[in-house]
Assembly symmetry: D4
Homo-oligomer: 220 residues x 8
């Protein structure tokens, strides 16, 4: 009896507006909820037309939408996911993670623009994370140093997300991905470049398992 | 008050026998235990000489050793880590993960040589993992397909470890790393090529958090 | 007396509408048939104008067209080609293979979206293929695992086609190509990324040879 | 009922002499035959010691051995595989293909050193191949042009095998692999660099299917 | 007293129409002639406006133009340059070479679309080249095999020009460049991808030196 | 009147022992001093034989030696160079920089093993550097984050030196080089992987210019 | 008390016109000055609207702007920075360096289009630089040879800036970056491709330190 | 009637001593002469044993040997080839070119260690080359700038040979190859990394054509 607790996520990129609407309403109807990612503004506008029939929420900066049947309720799990970004340009990817982990029932804490070029801004978030989170998503482009720094300072699994922010040698996220994989700090695993969706789902898997154990104790 | 629960791990590669002995005995003396990785047979033989003073255990195939003060005891946490390999050549890397997660207090289940070229061997381990594990380490070289398959079939965080097993185009673990990062399956994060140590530590971080919650319930 | 049984195939990309029309009508006139690939919608619309003089069929999703003289008949060979895709985004490339193999006289069976992230959908097609096909084309992007899985389960030559579906590290089909070349499964050879035309022709060469032998027996 | 007609092939590389002997005798005992590839001279010498109990044949230049139970007989299928090399340095890889296809029951024709730097030597083999073979394996390093040339001149599926012969930019077989994948000629698919074993098995799969059809006609 | 016999060549790419006109008229005025390369249709139209004052010739397919003072005359040197292309898509790059070598005073012979996928078309040109040319420019994309073949069959310096024609692995001219650098045939040197201008100048340097020696004998 | 203040530096790699001795004694004789880098232990032993005639100093860990005529004196410039390493494995490269900058007359401060995985160790060195140094060399392998962190915290030119310490994806110094070039922090320039010699010379050029100005004021 | 003397620099790329205006006026208001880089013409036009309230200067070719509070004055430091380019296409990147170093208070000397294809133009600038500059920025695309040549001829720290000018193999600045990192000349460090801003800041850090020492002598 | 004037050249690498002796004596016997390249010291010693029967000459530094029948005479052609190296480490590759061009009958001029880090040494050779040579081979590793500089200063075809001298990013000859292909100077074509043999043959083809024209005038 193998089943996945992760809800359906549709990548809209390359689909027409009509296809997107069709997929979204069919899947929401069938499964109660569908998450849509990598959507353009046009796609998001189109999806908002479903509001007559469904609960629809969109995040324009992240290119994401969630469409739910009126009777569908996201169950809060008590899982705790923290999300950090090194720069402001990394926020759209962080939002992907935030939406997905939120839909998976987690509580979210985030802090943006706390990268190594301004490390004093990192201290406060680190304190909060250390005493609260089950898992941390750290999003960074350019030299991708923040996940290493965070992993060396907190006692939690860190999910590194390299972003395609960067230029010249190592651009497109390559430098950040390499840096995260080469990290001297234990406690860091990574997903592919710009894969905020995957990072959010991964952190939620970790957090929800911990949350269930908090609720059910030895029976978990 | 930021501290890491991960014990000291020393990479022996490039150290002389004398340096290795010195580091091992000093760190075991000071901290109670030291884990040594990437050790040659010569290093391991040398380390066994410490047996007069310390508890020493070596895993020759994995190039690993653990040196402990006589009074040091590894505390069982109740965390549950499963470790799979696609082929037999991937076992040394899997053993790295196993030793580290074990030293971090976890219970271990493993199944070797269950890759996609012989998928019938995978079914039994998957059942066991689904109902038991907190986290799964999946080690694979060549085309690196096993972590994707596992992540699509179990409801747990999977830590993918590409190995440098392979040849020609995509050799050195590149194909396996790419395949894991490109995976269609959610629930998969990766560490660098041959990084069994990192994967074991990561899986243990996840599992121990869940185990603590099982023990302490809402106070965790 | 060396001749190829493969019909003329023209790659339209980079040709003007006028050039395309001219090439298509001249070649159809001269050889009875021409297959056109990598055509835009505009090209396909233009080619449909040839309907007054020729038999014209277009596949919009695949960017393909076949233009035939009114007296031209594709001869059925009895060759049997199966075509699978891992995802829905791989279908245009699969269609290229399907059109080419069909024009080469083969019977076609296809099954789409049967990749490793939903492996239960693969079982039915595999049964059908095992007892029927002469050759199998397997089209996959992202981690490109499906051709390995199929090759390990059927006793037939598998032609792997990596597609440029993917993102981040290993994007553009690189991860899929590498994975197919690194495959642990014997019985798999590959063509270049997105080369559905080449895969279709290759599978048809194999299948038509088998079909001829079925018809002619020892004289083949 | 899915089964593969390809016999067990063991890659010896990285195994100790003792492990190799053990694996070889166990597998030959159990299955009647085992093919061993990538074996050093030391491995081959060791394997010859099995001659007291088994039929053993070794190909030193190719690093290959076949070990069979005394009662095991390779069944001739009537499949016809041709094998060409561009240079003399490509011969070891060609031999891998030859041994594997031969063990799979095929008749073999080969011609070595017929690359584009001396194209007059290619004509005679091409004639023979055109009127006889079911499949052609073409092995080439350096610029890897021969498979393209052959595929443009014969009406048969060509299996290209790039070899790691080469130097400087494009060395290690990269140039040859790229050239084969970029080929303008239809009718060419490739396996990974130096993968003679895979090419031999692939060509045999094709040839044996044709041979069976020649024997059984419409029942095949 | 070091001077170059190569005329001024301006790469128009990235210059505005106004800048282009200005540069062209100033340089033609000052030096008698200027060659312009990588020009768009808009640039070429603009340059034709200089016809009132200068002799202007444009090659639209190649993006080239030559602007000369009314009193300027290209001196015929008697150098003999042959130019071949593998495919029709390689012609624009070949034209670059042709225009430049022509302006350097050489006589030109060319033959297009004589690549290895249709090698029978190559024989006639080869005969002509062998008995006539001082140097041969061979332009090829995709697998880039033609320069190797030509260099193995003629007793002349061959200048290989890889073109960016191609797709998938090895696209952008990479496969062709590698293949030419890896060539087994002596007598082949290469210029960068799509660098028809450089190849034409290089072949002309060789041919003009030979031509001068033909004219001046021992005094050359 | 263009002259370089940098002394002769000879890379010994690939030279025989005899060649090395000869070069060293000739150059020391002629110019008063020669610095030798990338020397094996055998080379260094050999060079120590010159002690009868010259002042010889060797640094075994760094593979460096300085050979001076008895009358040669290194002039102290008052330039101030700080050198940091991220890990202990980076020390040999740092020593290269230290020897070169020292021979160029600079005062040196160094701190080893102060990388981001243990950032508390960095604070003390940073204070010292901020109030003292003219230039900082920061040596780091693996994820190469330390130079970015230092450059964001001190008001001095930082010379980043990536080292080839690392493994898997991004090994050989590639990850560290990329990370340094992608750095978000202004005030960081880099030299090639493991190029401690170049970094030491560069930092000394900067520091000596500042030192001269301190001595000579407006006349500098 | 760690502070950086480098002013705020904002990369405009990817920001909307409104965001840009807002950031520019807020930062100029708060800090007295803001430098904006990588701005499109539209961004620059928009920024000029701030002229009613601020001092605004734009460099269209370089995509740069400086916005200052009316009361803000750039303090001249006396630092001396020289800036060279190999070609005319490298000028926009050089201008970035010039604006930044100028805003950091330095005096600037520049010479454009003095690359190795016309080396006679380099002599005059080299003389000037040798007797005047504190640091030299050398900007070059294509083969990137100029920084090596300059570093071998002047006794000053050279900051190499590879530009993305180039084509074919090594395009996008890769060849230039590699060449600079591989340079045989000591006295050369590099920044990432097209990073004129970083180079300007780096040269200014060096020059201003020397200038301060010239002013303050031993107290610096 | 297509024939090549280039003599047989055998690459010894990978051949046994016995194979080498056999090939050398057979080919020298049959064709009068054979050139052997990439030979180890052991190979060269072995070849010297042929002195009883043949004329044998070896160049140890270049790994080359020429074996001739007693009656064989190299005919002087009057072709003039100049060979330059940037550094001393490039000399073995230059020697390859020198031996091959010499055996092809050319007169040779060479100058070593005249690279851009010491450009004053280049002037004298350039003068000599300009007034004498038919073709110039320029051998350079590291940043590979010398061929560009030479091509910009002489009016002759330059054959660039990148060498594998170098380290870190761009090592193995990659930086040098890229730089030569990206060169701003017309009049430069390249061969693969370390391919001194190919460069020598190419330069000789050019020079011999010019020499023949000098001898035969219009009949050439």
């Amino acid at each position: 009896e193998l089943r996945r607790s992760i809800p359906e996520i549709v990548f809209v990129e390359g689909k027409t507006l009509a296809q997107t609407l069709k997929v979204a309403s069919e899947m929401a109807e069938a499964g109660g909820r569908v998450i849509l990612a990598r959507a353009s503004k046009a796609h998001l506008s189109e999806l908002l037309k479903l509001k007559s029939k469904f609960k629809v929420k969109v995040w324009e900066q992240a290119g994401m939408a969630v469409v739910k049947r009126q009777d569908f309720k996201t169950v809060k799990t008590g899982g705790r996911v923290a999300i950090l970004t090194a720069g402001t340009a990394d926020i759209p990817v962080a939002l992907e993670a935030e939406v997905v982990a939120g839909e998976l029932g987690c509580d979210i804490y985030h802090a943006y623009d706390v990268g190594v070029a301004g490390m004093h801004r990192l201290l406060e978030p680190l304190k909060r994370i250390s005493s609260w989170a089950d898992a941390v998503v750290v999003v960074a482009g350019m030299e991708g140093a923040l996940p290493s720094v965070v992993a060396s300072l907190v006692d939690l699994p860190v999910v590194g997300v390299p972003t395609s922010v960067g230029y010249g040698y190592g651009s497109g996220g390559k430098a950040a991905l390499m840096a995260m994989l080469q990290s001297c700090s234990l406690g860091l695993a990574v997903v592919n470049i710009d894969n905020g969706v995957g990072a959010g789902a991964y952190a939620a898997l970790i957090a929800n398992r911990a949350a269930r154990a908090r609720s059910h104790g030895k029976e978990a």
